[in-house]
Structures are given as structure tokens and as C-alpha cells.
Symmetry: D2
Subunit: 263 residues, 4 copies
């Protein structure tokens, strides 16, 4: 519960939405859009088609859910999870193409794209390769400079991508992962190691509240790590995603945390 006399703490809850294609879907978007505050909307490269983009934006707008561009590699077959060696300038253009496509449909749906989040293998590439991080940051800067609107970058604090964005003056929204273990350095425990995934729902909820209210997380080795985040990520494509979102939302509200879209 929020302390008396102070403004209530608030946080955003984000999830990947609109990751179907044509006749295919992968998550219960309808249910998730009733629980999260911000939707990372796929833009057609790793998933998503014009119908899905529009429908997702319309539902998000109707429910007051924020819209972010979830940009990825151009790879439907691999769902954006396979690294592709894209020259830097091509990657800038790919990101701008996706941003523009989503922005047009968002505008028609009565909302706008307020942030960007790289997806899958592109996300990982931006945390490891300067060219990939730089391309994403450059696309955001060019997009804003061209009068297309201010964009924040939603990403994990402490990564190369976050640092490059901050240095370049791009607003960074720090993201926390509910179902992932952290190292003492504040990074994620690799999926190949023990403690990488938190499966206990009560534990997930406790960590969520602690991250928001205290700005800390307990690392896999037991140390307390500073982790001040503005948005919590709920994975949409795992079984039980809706259940996790519902439980975390309830736990946060119970603790007096306000759930609020990023923009």
C-alpha cells in the first residue's frame, strides 16, 4: 500500500501483442489488452499484418492502453528469433518502415505510437553489437527529428542499448522482467543456467511489487540488486500468460501501486 501523504507509486505493465499473421495467432490478445497498460505491437516484420495492426490499435485505443512499436528482423518464418546480419543503414530503414506503418494505422485508430521495443533476436543483437544498438537509436532520433513524434525506448537498464540511447538523448523507459532471474550485475540469468526462469506465481507477484515499491530485486545469488523500473514485462506467448498478468495486476493494485500507461 502506498504510504500516506505521498503520491502513489505507479508502473506500466507491457506485453507483446498482435503477434499473429493472417489466419494464425499466438497469444490471447483480447484478454491481455484488458490487463496490461501498454501493448508492444508487432509491425509486420516478425509478425503482424495490416488487419492485426489496426485491430490491435483500435482495441488498445478503446481501453486506454498505450501503443509501442515492437520492431523486429524481417523474418516471419523465424518469428524474429533468428539473428540476421543486416547492414546498419538497412536496419535503420527497416525500423523506420515498421514505425511508419504502425504509426499510420495507430493514427487512424485514434492513438499514437509512444515508444519502441526491439523484439527477439534484434533485441539481443542490440545488447551485444554496437551497430545494431546504434541503428535502433538512430532510427528513433531520425523519426523524432522528422516531426513524426517523440518516441521513448523501452529496454532493460544497464544494457548497451540503454546506454547508447541515454547518451544520444533518447528517453529510456527501464523495463523489469517478472519471470526472469537476475544476476548480481542486474542482467538476466541466461536461460541455460539455473534460476533463469521464475515459475512460482506468488514469487513473481512479490518480485513485481518489490521492484516497483523498493526499486530492487533479489538476484539469483541472493544479493539485493538495485532495479528501478518504469514498466514490467509480461510474456504473452507462454502458457498461463493471462493468468500471470491478472495475478501481477491484482498484486500491484493490492499494494497500492497505480497501473498507468507510459505516455
Amino acid at each position: 500500500m502506498a504510504e500516506a501523504g505521498t503520491a502513489p507509486v505507479s508502473v506500466s505493465l507491457n506485453s507483446d501483442i498482435g503477434e499473429g499473421y493472417g489466419a494464425w495467432s499466438i497469444a490471447d490478445d483480447e484478454a491481455l489488452l484488458g490487463l496490461v497498460t501498454d501493448a508492444n505491437v508487432a509491425c509486420g516484420f516478425h509478425a503482424g499484418d495490416p488487419d492485426i495492426l489496426r485491430r490491435t490499435c483500435e482495441t488498445a485505443a478503446a481501453r486506454g492502453v498505450g501503443v509501442g512499436a515492437q520492431v523486429g528482423f524481417d523474418d516471419l518464418r523465424g518469428f524474429g528469433r533468428r539473428f540476421i546480419q543486416v547492414p546498419k543503414q538497412s536496419l535503420v530503414n527497416d525500423v523506420l518502415f515498421q514505425l511508419g506503418a504502425l504509426s499510420g494505422l495507430a493514427a487512424v485508430a485514434g492513438t499514437r505510437v509512444s515508444y519502441l521495443k526491439p523484439h527477439g533476436a534484434l533485441y539481443h543483437a542490440t545488447t551485444q553489437h554496437d551497430d545494431y544498438a546504434g541503428a535502433v537509436v538512430e532510427a528513433i532520433l531520425e523519426y523524432s527529428a522528422a516531426g513524426q513524434g517523440e518516441l521513448a525506448l523501452l529496454c532493460q537498464p544497464g544494457t548497451r542499448l540503454a546506454e547508447r540511447a541515454e547518451t544520444a538523448g533518447v528517453p529510456v523507459v527501464a523495463e523489469g522482467f517478472l519471470d526472469r532471474g537476475y544476476t548480481a550485475d542486474g542482467l538476466l540469468v541466461p536461460r541455460t543456467e539455473p534460476g533463469a526462469v521464475i515459475t512460482d506465481l506468488d514469487e513473481v507477484c512479490r518480485r513485481a511489487v518489490r521492484m516497483v515499491q523498493q526499486g530492487t530485486v533479489e538476484a539469483a545469488d541472493g544479493t539485493e540488486v538495485r532495479m528501478r523500473v518504469a514498466s514490467l514485462c509480461v510474456h504473452s506467448d507462454s502458457s498461463g500468460a493471462v493468468e500471470v498478468a491478472r495475478a501481477v495486476r491484482a498484486a500491484l493494485e493490492q499494494a497500492g501501486v497505480e497501473l498507468r500507461p507510459l505516455a
Copy 2:
């Protein structure tokens, strides 16, 4: 030459540009962008990729060439020349997706999308089916209503698409075809009939000047048809496209016609 005392007559010269994909190209875009006033830029559905879109917009911007969205069916394999049965609402969304993608890259390149022209089989579908014509018009209306900018529609006068656009209040730019024969009704002679294509370059040039200065064209049956146009189309993918563009441009300038972008 324009008569003394009157404002010089002007016209736009448009051509399909940016119709490559990846390593492939189909026209001499570089040369054509030095000759036309307006580029119908492919948006990635029948041709075009983010790199090509950007490069085309940048070159157009640098040379004062206007940018239009050349929207098509989602069919790289068929180059947008095969009819696809797309539900009306999907087609609206497909057009908006293409418009948004091009708009973002145009903005970054320092220009903007000022008009739309349907490509290939989509163009033909809009002249024959109400749903297809209606979808294109609706997309333009929604795009403008959402504050994404005013868009004109570049199309042949007298077609169903032109009529629907005019009725809906969408500004229509009448387009004339330099290398195509006309019927007495002011429509194009079907390609399967004699007189469908004008191949003599002098004849093409004479028709261009006449269409602009007198607002008429001689039909295949010899009758004079009223054909007041604001833009002349130079086909880019025929052999000799650059030569045609150069000759027509010279003939128009020689006749005192000003060559001016649409917006």
C-alpha cells in the same frame, strides 16, 4: 511557347519509381528522377523495400521531385499485376500500411507523400469493382482525417475510381497516358486491340503537348476527345522509358509548358 499575356500552362510528369526489391531493379530510376516531376514510389507490397523507399525519397527530395504512394496488392511474386480477392476492410488497411511506411521514410528524407496512385491489378480492380475503388478512397479519407496529411488521388478521369473519389471529396489529379490509345469515350483502348499502344516517339510528343495545351486527345477512331489532365504518365518499365521521358520533357518545354510537381 505560351502565349504572351497568359500564365504559362503547366503539367506534372509522373513515373513509377523504386520498383526494385533487394538486389533486383527494373527501371533506370536514377535517370528518370532527373526527368519527371513526380515519382510514384512503390511501398513494399508489389515492389520496394525500406532501403529503396528511403533512397528514392532522398533522391526525389534532393531534386525537387514530388513523392506519391504507389500502392499495390501484396504480391512480390506477381509484381502486383495479378488480381487478388482482398476483403474491402483488409484492402483499406493494406493501403494505410503502405501509406504509413512510405510517409515515415519520406519524412526522414525531408519530403512528404502528396498523392496516391494504385498500381497494376489494384488499379484495374478499382476501375471495375466498387469495393476496391471504395477501399482506396476510404483509406485516403481516413489517412487525412487522422491528421497524416492531405492526399490527392492520381488517376484517369472518367473511371469509377475517379468518380468515387470526387463524390467523397478527395482531390483528384487527372492523369493522361502518353503511349496509349484512347477510345471515343475517353478510356484506354484495351491492349488486345489495335491502336492500344503509341510507339512513334514524335507522335507521343505531339499528343503530350496537345493534351496539355488544348485539353484534347485524338481517339483511335479519329474523333477528338476532351482530355484535360494535370499529370502525364511515363511508363518506367518499358525499354526506352528514359528516352521517352527525355523527349516528352523537351517537347513540352519547347512548347512553353512548365513542368511542375503536383504539390
Copy 3:
């Protein structure tokens, strides 16, 4: 139950399988492959990718399920349900490409493609347009003539496709639809009309047994129509597909009908 002294009546049960793509799936293939005798395997044009093709062929081979090529229009976005205007020769080549791709993976999986069934909008086009029916028949003839193996055509009797195939000497396997109403002419009641879909599971089972044992079906207007079929189709992408397949299989076995793959 089969009459004493006669060979037991047999039938094939077919279903569309392998209609996912990358991370997406649409049906419970694993369960269906335990119930049907023949799998209409998507070949990558409307659905399916090399991994799915192989996995499906391997599971089919392991369970003694026959493999057919479910060929479609080249349209992942539309799941092959949108008509595309494909020139006849291109369609022949498209079908051969799909057949070859599936055949190679089927061979590696230890089985072979024994029949072909057009999917979705291609199926409908072959029942209405001579060019489309002709292209499918021609592809089968060329494939067999080239020593790639004998292929039967699985399709509804009385259609243009069935007639053209029979005339050309292609073996036709007559297909019956369990959950669709029939007209007095032996064709399907259009989905826009009453009686198009049979939803009662008991009714579906009774019709299945009757079609196999008596070679008749009761039309929507109550008349008895001759309908001698060699394979019954279970739609895989409707909810309850597995339940329908299980019930029909049980009803047929209960009636003494042997369930047997086509080849």
C-alpha cells in the same frame, strides 16, 4: 457391421495437416494424426514450412498415415483462401514446385506423396474455371509422366475438376464432407444458405456411416442422393475437430467399416 460373407467396406479419413508456419500453428496435428488415415499436408504456399513438412511426414510415416499434397495459392497472408489470378502455366509450375518440395521431404521421412488435394481458394477456382482445373490436372500428369510417381486426385465427385481429371486419365478419389449439407445435385449447399453446415455430432456420424455403407447422403431438401466416396474429410481448423474425428472414427469402426489409407 459388415455383412457376413462379404469383404468389409473400407474408407479413408482425411484431414488438412501441417498448416502452421514458423512459430504458428492452427490445428492439433498431433492428435489428428492419431485419428485420420490420410494427411493432406500443406506444402509451404498457403501454410507449412520445411520443418513442419518434415515433422508431419515423419509422424505420418510412423503411424501408417498416408501423405497427400495439399497445394494452394502462394499466399501465407490469406492462408490460401483468397483467389489469385494466376496464369495457367504459372499455376502448373506452382503445383509442381509444391509437389516436388513435399515429395523430397516425404521420401526422407520414409514415405511418399500418393495423392493431391487443392486447398481453399484454389480448390474453389478449380471447380469453377477450366484453366485452374486444367492446370492442376496437367501438373499431375506431368509429374507422373516424369517418373515422379503416380498421384491420385482427391476431390468432390461431380465437380469440373473431377470431370477433367477423369477425362485425362488421372485417378480420382471421391471425397465426402461430413459436416456439410448437400444439394439434390450432389454438390455442397453454399455456406450462405440454411443447411450448409451439420453441427450435430450424432448426425455427422450417421451420415458418415451411411455414405460409406450405402453410398448415399440425404440432401438438404430431403431427397436421397447417390454419393459413393472413398475418403471422408474432417475439417481440421474448426474447434472440435479432434472430437469430430474421434467420434466419426468410432462410429465407422462400430459399423464394421475398415479405416484404410488411400495408398
Copy 4:
């Protein structure tokens, strides 16, 4: 000229053919198919569509040109020149899919696929990563074991791919590059270094004859390197490709070398 009393030395001349897509093309396939003995035919993943595959196979068959499967990453946009991180088993399946598709169309065209050559980034990956080399070799072994026909592997001697293929018992056809400089180790001089590309046409011809007749090449540092090859590669997508093929063919014939397809 071949010495009297000995069998004439022979060699194959190979080139990448059929690398267009839909309306796009990239090389003068028609002219090249009149000069080379073996066509590395693109299979639809990095280039090529069913129409092109068939037309290429038909022309090759008519002219006695051998057909090889030029398999690549699934990346039309990048023309197969971008590395994609494909899991090993998926890569095996991707290669088999391409092999099967081309084999079916080759059979219909009256010929067969006799060898395989990886394209672009896939080729480079197979020379560097065991998983990629292993996947290609495994696909060839599985294809042959499944009775789909014997396949040779066309690749540069001394590479990891060649070694793995030899170890596995796959017949390897050693390939020489006419317009590339060699290191003293018998590998190619990287394109970023001096001496990487041989542009003088006479020099290219002299090297071709020497490689075939003496089994050696002069490395960039002047040393003589053993380079016994069975096929010489003519790059098809460089300007002057046809001129190079014509000159090399003439020089080889002049020297008494027989030009003969691989199978």
C-alpha cells in the same frame, strides 16, 4: 592443345542461373546458358520462382547443360547474402525442400539435379561453421539415401565444407574461381585485400587454361599453388559476365580442353 595420344583434358564451366524473381532478373541467363556446361539453379529461397525454375531447367535440358541446385538462405530481400542463424536441423530441411522443389521441375523438364552448390552467405557459413557445413552434407546424404538420386557437392577444395563432404563419402567436385586471387594456402584472397579480384580478361583466360591443364594457380604472392579443379565458376551477376564466359570458353577450346557437364 591436348597432347597427341592422350585423352583430351576436360572441365566443366558453371554459373549461377535463374536468379530472378517474378518480374525481376539479374543476369543474362539466356546468353550464359549457351556458354556454360552446368547451371547452378536458384531454388526459390534467395531467388527463383517456379516459372523461372522450370524455364531454366527446360533451356538447360535443351542445350545439354547440367543442372545443379544452388541452395541458399530463405531471404529474397537479402538475395541470400546475409547470414541467418538457422538451427542445424532446420537448415537440413530447408536444403531438402529446395532440392525437392527443383528436382520435380527438373524431372518435368526432362533433366535431373546432379549436384548442389551453396549460395552466398550460406556458402560462407559452411566454410566457417561446422553446423552449417554439416547440415548441407547431411541433406545430401539423406536425399541420396532416400532414393532421390546421387548428388555431388560443388565447392572449393580445402574448405571445411569440402572436408566434411569427403569424410562423409559425398562426391566433391573441386571448383576453381577465374576472377579471384588465391592465397599461398589455396584459399581466396579476401575481397578487402589487394589482389582479390582479377579483372584483366586475358589474365583470367590464362589462369583458366593453366588451372585445367597444369592443375596449378599462381597465388597473389607469386608462389605456385596446386589447384586441381573439375569445374570453373563464371560469376553471372557481374557486368561483363557473358563476355568473360565467352572468352574463357574460347581460350579453353583453343587450348584443346573439352568443355563437359559434370554429370
